[in-house]
């Protein structure tokens, strides 16, 4: 039975650069039990579609045509008063950024109650029990004081649970989710997806799930609509889309996905002294609540010509370690040897040779380039600072650098705001390769890019790595990408290394329970692959750093016994790998054997 019927929907809005038609002639229908996954890249009109489905006119909307019929009600022709009765009660929405959709000055329990009171005449006691029921529905511990906390006191995953609780509180017929897990760590994302799946099995409800990530869509959706440039280019059941995609765009999108077990060809690693050898790096930050040890005695070696992947959740200290190596943060202790000599801690004390040969690519493409300077100016400045070059030669070098990252040299005259996120990251890579570096530090260079753009940037980085023989330290929270890019993988948790080894050996099996959880959290773009369920229920907590015993103990699903809480686990060797755990490799493998590992399925 059809719940939502969309026919010839067109949405346009006025922007500073002219009027944009963001949604073009979109038609589809949705049954009461269906979950429609809408997939597309940023800028493809997904969010505009989500708002139009509610009959909501976003600011600046200049055109809203066509029909959206929800349970017989024509939403686009509905007076605002009627719409307000439908929103929240019958159609609920969950946004990408929970921190922006929650009121910062209100306790979260009160925010759930507010939604209930808005639509129903309830007593205080009834509202309280409804709030408790909503919190139960999103599996937040009931007895705890979570309802009495403010949004900033919750973790990202807990906040998103609260917005889902608000959406569920009135048992809507339709829930629209706009990239609800995009801002979350992979491990938290996996838990939220489990929750949504579970809710769907309990409550009869239709969902429109919007994401740029096909792996996520494969897990939650029953039907998929692929959006490109404002149009729906293909719809079908999940298995149709994944096994027999009809449209070329869908095929390209599928091909660009990182799949576990797929890796680049091995790099030519040159034996001998490593490019970089950091030993016992420590760094802590002062906070109001006390000092937080971000990196605790980490050692890292980067063989010449190799890509070392550094992986972990946010808060694992991987970025801090990278910034210590770059000289942007001053570690409290530890030594860094680089190209055979000791490296001063601060970038200000480092010689010209070090500045020239060690380069960095930053995470956020929006802030990596100075918005007020043309691309050419940014590149020329960097070049002239590192190498004494005259104007004409610099210009040639800048053009060459742009070509190297497959951008037209005419881009030199453009401002960063005229470039897409992927193009900005290309320019940042061009900047890093102006001086043919020995070591490139990549600080999550892909995490704010679309999946298809990620694939292109990955390839570019690997091509440059091969051509220049540069060694990389590649930081990411995405184990699939790290596996694809790296020759060696280092897994970090709460400022410590918990496992490291040859990248290839990770294909066979994870060892450390934390690595296992990371693997299991990676969404696989294959609906047939029921992902192994290893879920970290609790949140990463700074308090764990201070406890004796294993730092992972509080979240570990393979706890051995009392020694886990009391004795720091030993390093254990297992054929080219080493990890810190009380379980020896054979016993870990036995336990993990019955849990199918994504890579094992190839």
């Amino acid at each position: 039975m059809t719940l939502l019927d969309v026919a010839h929907l067109n949405v346009g809005y006025a922007s500073a650069r002219g009027s944009i038609r963001a949604v073009r002639d979109v038609s589809f229908s949705l049954d009461r039990d269906e979950v429609l996954g809408v997939v597309g890249e940023s800028g493809s009109g997904k969010s505009t579609l989500a708002h139009a489905l509610m009959g909501y006119r976003m600011r600046g909307t200049s055109m809203l045509e066509g029909n959206v019929t929800f349970d017989g009600i024509p939403l686009l022709r509905c007076p605002a008063q009627e719409l307000r009765k439908i929103w929240g009660r019958r159609i609920a929405m969950v946004h990408q950024n929970p921190l922006a959709s929650l009121t910062p000055t209100m306790r979260v329990g009160e925010q759930i109650a507010e939604t209930i009171r808005q639509h129903r005449n309830v007593t205080a006691a009834e509202a309280q029990s409804a709030v408790a029921a909503s919190l139960r529905a999103v599996e937040l511990p009931e007895g705890s004081d979570i309802a009495r906390r403010y949004p900033h006191q919750l973790s990202g995953g807990q906040r998103q649970r609260i917005t889902i609780a608000i959406a569920l509180s009135l048992e809507p017929d339709l829930m629209i989710l706009d990239e609800p897990t995009t801002n979350l760590d992979a491990t938290t994302e996996a838990v939220i997806l489990d929750l949504l799946e579970d809710i769907r099995s309990r409550i009869r409800m239709a969902m429109v799930y919007i994401s740029h990530n096909l792996g996520v869509i494969a897990r939650v959706a029953t039907r998929v609509a692929v959006m490109h440039a404002g149009e729906i280019v293909e719809t079908g059941t999940v298995s149709q889309i994944f096994t027999a995609p009809a449209h070329s765009y869908t095929r390209a999108l599928l091909k660009s996905l990182p799949r576990p077990g797929i890796a680049k060809p091995k790099a030519r690693v040159i034996a001998g002294e490593p490019v970089l050898a950091a030993a016992s790096i420590r760094k802590s930050f002062g906070r109001r609540t006390g000092t937080v040890r971000a990196v605790c005695g980490v050692s890292l070696q980067v063989p010449r010509g190799a890509v070392v992947g550094l992986v972990g959740e946010s808060g694992s200290g991987k970025s801090t370690l990278l910034r210590c190596i770059a000289g942007l943060e001053r570690p409290e202790s530890g030594t860094i040897r680089y190209l055979g000599s000791d490296l001063p801690a601060s970038v200000a004390e480092r010689g010209a040779h070090v500045l020239r040969t060690m380069q960095m690519v930053f995470q956020d493409p929006e802030s990596t380039l100075n918005p007020s300077l043309a691309i050419g100016t940014t590149l020329r400045r960097h070049l002239i600072a590192l190498k004494a070059t005259d104007g004409a030669a610099a210009r040639l070098a800048v053009d060459e650098a742009l070509r190297r990252v497959r951008l037209d040299p005419a881009y030199r005259a453009r401002l960063p705001r005229e470039l897409s996120g992927g193009e900005k990251q290309r320019v940042a890579i061009a900047r890093a390769f102006l001086s043919a570096p020995e070591l490139l530090l990549c600080d999550e260079p892909l995490s704010s890019l679309d999946v298809s753009v990620q694939a292109a940037i990955c390839r570019l980085l690997l091509d440059l790595q091969r051509d220049y023989g540069t060694s990389y330290v590649f930081v990411s929270h995405d184990l699939a990408i790290v596996r694809y890019m790296s020759d060696r993988i280092v897994v970090m948790y709460l400022g410590e290394v918990v496992e490291e080894g040859e990248a290839g050996s990770f294909d066979r099996h994870p060892l450390h329970p934390y690595t296992e959880a990371l693997f299991s959290a990676t969404p696989i773009p294959d609906p047939a692959a029921a992902n192994a369920r290893v879920r970290l229920k609790s949140q990463i907590s700074d308090a764990d750093r201070e406890r004796p015993g294993c730092i992972f103990n509080a979240r570990c699903h393979r706890r051995k016994g009392a020694e886990c809480a009391e004795i720091a686990p030993p390093w254990r060797d297992a054929g080219g790998r080493r990890y810190r755990c009380h379980w020896p490799p054979s016993e870990l493998a036995d336990q993990q054997g019955n849990v199918a590992h994504p890579a094992a399925r190839g």
Partner: protein, 290 residues
């Protein structure tokens, strides 16, 4: 993960381009300010009488064909004095604003970028200065230095430093850890080159707004100081001073007060409106970034 979706950026296409349009909110105040600047340049040569000559007509004569704005108590032509007075006040307030906003912004940018002890020291000093009312502080400086045009500029410039420093500091704070700043540090750029070559161009639109607002305030300050006798000394035609001199006859002959007051008022309103227009165009620019 092999093939990228080549150039299939998936961006929605523009239906029709829309050119940059001049907006009257910007054009009207800019035109008014331009007229004032022009008057400041050529006022002396187009004025019908000398600004300092006594008895160009009967004293306190009402506006007429020969004396457009009437005459003051000494028989000086008010129209000529208003025209010639434009240069004095524009020159003084522009140089005071340049000095004060320039020094204040430089201080704020450096303090905001460097942070730590530098920032703490500068900002506490700024707090102390901000505790004193602007006009009072200017009078204090002028009484100790003695009234002269140079001292007037110095005094008002000094009054502007703390507020401009605050504005520049708050503009630069969110940018200090941006990727392009760290990239500059990694190529060995020092703090001065980062502040003035990387950060200044970004915050310049915000500082332009601050400049306009301070300029309007400088006009008022100079007029107020002139009125109180601390500013420009007679017989130089100064709008504030003119109001002060003619205020005794305001009930029988309002024109020597009215016209300089109108001249001040219109300019201050126009400069403020220009600052508003600049602010909203800055906001539009920000929207484009998003």
């Amino acid at each position: 993960m092999t093939g990228p979706v080549a150039s299939a950026a998936g961006h929605v296409a523009l239906d029709k381009p829309e050119g940059r349009r001049w907006r009257w909110q910007m054009v009207v105040p800019a035109a008014v300010v331009a007229v004032y600047l022009l008057t400041g340049l050529v006022g002396e040569s187009v004025a019908p009488y000398s600004a300092t000559d006594f008895n160009t007509g009967p004293p306190l004569a009402p506006p007429s064909e020969t004396h457009l704005f009437g005459t003051d108590g000494f028989g000086r032509d008010v129209f000529s004095r208003v025209l010639v007075g434009a240069r004095t006040i524009l020159l003084l307030s522009l140089s005071a604003t340049l000095l004060g906003v320039g020094a204040g912004c430089a201080l704020g940018l450096v303090s905001g970028y460097r942070g730590g002890a530098v920032d703490e020291t500068v900002m506490r000093l700024v707090d102390v200065l901000l505790a004193l009312p602007g006009l009072l502080l200017a009078m204090l400086i002028l009484t100790s230095l003695g009234p002269s045009s140079l001292n007037l500029v110095l005094a008002i410039g000094f009054v502007f430093i703390p507020k401009s420093a605050r504005i520049a500091r708050s503009a630069v704070l969110p940018l200090r850890n941006a990727g392009y700043v760290e990239a500059a540090r990694l190529r060995g750029a020092g703090w001065a080159s980062i502040v003035f070559a990387e950060l200044l161009p970004i915050v310049l639109p915000q500082l332009a707004v601050e400049f306009c607002l301070r300029f309007a305030y400088a006009l008022l300050l100079i007029s107020s100081l002139g009125f109180l006798g601390f500013g420009v000394q007679p017989p130089t035609p100064d709008w504030g001073l003119m109001i002060s001199e003619a205020r005794n006859y305001v009930t029988i002959a309002p024109w020597p007060v009215l016209f300089p007051a109108l001249a001040i008022g219109l300019l201050v309103v126009a400069v403020n409106a220009l600052a508003d227009a600049l602010t909203s165009s800055g906001e539009r620019r920000v929207e484009q970034y998003l």
